[in-house]
Symmetry: C2
Subunit: 481 residues, 2 copies
């Protein structure tokens, strides 16, 4: 029977409504127990292995509501903002610290194969709707309304669901976001029951694009991958690939390259190669490429470059079990998530991951500025990642490019990035973390960084390139700080 | 009873000789069985998960001697070359393909605390011997004999044991080196029985050096770490640290910074801080910072920048169980090992790892150029790393800097490195590997690199900076190529 999760059911809409109505208390109970089971309570109480001291946990909890609520934020044309963050967006939901939100996210590459990733899925259909003169979501990007390529100009590409406003959040506070669960969004097309699909676009913004060895140069190639929606297989496989054919959108604009997000690909004009990556299993690492709060510096901010408020960090470690700590920059924090990935390698070399719609369940805990004094979260000015085993610090070419690069920041950032700059930032952030959060001297921090911290390439394709620094929590097991 | 491994035994010299005499057949038998047990034979026979095809394995084996020999190459003043590779070095041992060699390696930082790392150890004492007018090893580096700082000028710092010549090796061949075992070299000082020590120098060539926050700037700080020599603990801990005091060497040359290797530190002039990195456990990752064959391009080659023949790659994955594949550049290959590390993080940020003497057991298999056609090893022009689970490709700022940078290469390389260049090289090498060794098209390779290959920072301190690319072998489990 359809439980509101089978879009092929004739009574889907009614079942879905019933599911939504029933879900809140049910899911709430489930999540409360799973929260305890997954160590959430322990994290709130622990000292050494968490950034949240017992005193801070108590202070933050006192400001949470007595009983947590659980919300469901679907992805529809009404609940997403496409290609930008903004301090002025109207919240989709307003929650209290401690509340849970299940957030549906859609990949902006779903229209690369609408049959597999859009058809039959009311949420996706409402977002991707595009006929002559009608778009489910007209603005795509932070650019002008009258941009030649379409409203927003494609200056920013990610479909972001939200924002979620956290009541009482103010600049200077820290928002803790726990990723409690991540699940692939099954194909709604009965032909593909049990599968989820993703798209990998080797695109013009990829690292490889101007450095091709063979064939026509340059070229954009899209590879469609299949992921097991049931969770039974921990790997993805390629289904087929095709060359971006140059596509005329329903409003008559020709897109010779992938220069605007969500263009419906007409597969009567593509040539599919099914003999692709045969026998190759790609380990899945489901995560959100984009998660973040709204920056304060500008009204409309391109979703592509990551920054101090998070956004498009594109680190595959931001998956189930991870916790993010963000500096709150605007009232309500305004958290959004998007750019879901089934898997990505460190570097996201060709410009995209396996871009694949996912649904996440998050818990939000607000830490007020007044309670942060003397804790590791005091003066946090970048998005801090915690996984089960590691602290992961995100270095960027420009830590706060909107401030660092002045009025032209949003275009300048795409010309100025380098791994060398990102490495410098990662070094400085890790040193600061070891000194400030772990109480080491500078000399201790520098020695430890050389013998026990791993620096890696996060991405080289998002304007503001990234290098991360990873330190294992177990290193500090005997330490009180 | 001393089995020739306890330098505190009164009859150590005699026991050691007996041990050496007995060891060859014993160890040979042991290694033959452990070779089978560790999958060596399987690797020789397997196809898809090895770079060595069954046909190549058979061809290479046919050229090996019927019965493998096992040699022991101690580290003494006579068996090491300090700070350089050279195509003209006289081999310390000449072996056949298939033979085993146990190689002792000494850290060039042992004199940072001679009491713990040199005293009582005849091999180390012979190498580090330095009194007015007498040095166990006079030349240290590839510089001139009459350099102001001392012979060799410190242009190259690593104590390399070898070279090992492989009979019949010629330019164009590939040398496979399997690391069968790695063990720490116990302190020979009875005061420190059961422990091994290492030194971490936060030195002038470190990434942090010109970017310090606190205290006197600049400064060099040495931290002495302790490692459990018995193998019972998988972590190291800091013992004490001291500021490099400026040291006058036995020949009267003042070294205000660590500008020449092996300078004996006079600890009556240092101030030790014992309260250092308290409660911090550094996971150990024993490996060889330097392993490589002699380059063809120059007579004397500084040991610091890594290159196409290997050398100072400084990747902690080059430890027990790893296999390296080197392009042979000169007759006999001339393999040497040194720069032993107890642990290092990706980046080796402060300039050194936990520099700690180790002994390795290696097997050498020569693959002749004529047998390489059509295999993954054909035209190999960089050092390829294989671990149990991964293929690891080493990108450098300049893949063959001796050739790429012309006559001044050995000084120019220290001014020209960047992570961005090293990333480009790692990308190109991984693409080539996936296309050539795994039979993918360029489009397949690029998609796979984006969704399943991890790029990381190897080191930012060795002149020729490194970025590595890692791909899991399991990805290809179902593939025949």
């Amino acid at each position: 029977m359809c439980l509101g999760d089978d879009p092929t059911c004739a009574a889907f809409a009614e079942h879905r409504m019933r599911y939504r109505r029933d879900m809140e208390p049910e899911r709430r109970a489930f999540l409360k127990s799973s929260f305890v089971a997954t160590g959430g309570a322990a994290a709130l109480a622990a000292g050494g292995l968490s950034l949240v001291t017992p005193a801070l946990a108590q202070a933050s909890r006192a400001k949470s509501v007595e009983r947590c609520r659980h919300y469901h934020l679907p992805a529809t044309a009404e609940t997403v903002h496409w290609g930008y963050f903004s301090r002025s967006l109207k919240p989709q939901v307003e929650i209290e610290s401690g509340d849970f939100v299940t957030i549906e996210t859609l990949t902006h590459h779903a229209n690369d194969d609408a049959e597999r990733m859009v058809a039959g899925d009311p949420g996706a259909e409402s977002v991707f709707l595009w006929t002559k003169g009608t778009k489910g979501v007209a603005r795509r990007g932070a650019g002008p309304e009258d941009a030649k390529l379409g409203p927003g100009g494609g200056l920013g590409v990610h479909i972001c669901t939200g924002p979620v406003a956290i009541r009482g959040a103010e600049p200077g506070d820290v928002l803790e976001v726990r990723i409690l669960d991540v699940a692939p969004r099954p194909s709604a097309n009965p032909k593909f029951k049990g599968s989820t699909f993703g798209s990998n676009a080797a695109a013009w913004w990829g690292y490889h694009y101007k450095d091709l060895l063979t064939g026509d140069k340059p070229r954009e190639v899209i590879t469609i991958y299949e992921v097991d929606a049931s969770g039974g297989r921990d790997w993805a496989k390629a289904v087929y690939s095709f060359r971006w054919p140059g596509v005329t959108d329903p409003d008559g604009v020709l897109h010779p390259t992938i220069d605007y997000p969500g263009i419906p690909v007409d597969h009567t004009k593509t040539t599919r190669t099914y003999d692709v990556l045969k026998g190759i299993r790609v380990p899945i690492r489901p995560h959100f490429g984009v998660m973040g709060v709204a920056p304060a510096e500008a009204e409309m901010v391109n979703s592509i470059p990551p920054s101090y408020t998070g956004g498009n960090i594109d680190n595959w470690r931001i998956g189930k079990g991870a916790t993010l700590y963000y500096p709150v920059a605007v009232a309500g924090a305004l958290f959004s998530a998007g750019d879901p990935h089934a898997s990505q390698g460190d570097s996201e070399l060709c410009g995209t991951a396996i871009e694949c719609s996912l649904t996440g369940t998050f818990q939000f805990v607000l830490h007020k500025k007044a309670d942060l004094a003397g804790t590791a979260l005091e003066s946090l000015d970048f998005p801090m990642i915690e996984t089960r085993e590691d602290w992961v610090l995100s270095g960027f070419s420009y830590p706060n490019y909107l401030k660092d690069l002045g009025p032209d920041a949003q275009s300048a950032i795409f010309a100025k990035s380098s791994l060398d700059l990102a490495m410098q930032d990662a070094f400085r952030k890790m040193r600061q973390f070891l000194m400030h959060a772990k109480g080491l001297t500078e000399d201790e921090a520098i020695s430890l960084m050389s013998v026990a911290v791993d620096f890696g390439v996060t991405q080289v394709v998002d304007g503001n390139w990234g290098v991360h620094a990873i330190v294992k929590k177990a290193i500090f097991a005997e330490r009180t700080a």
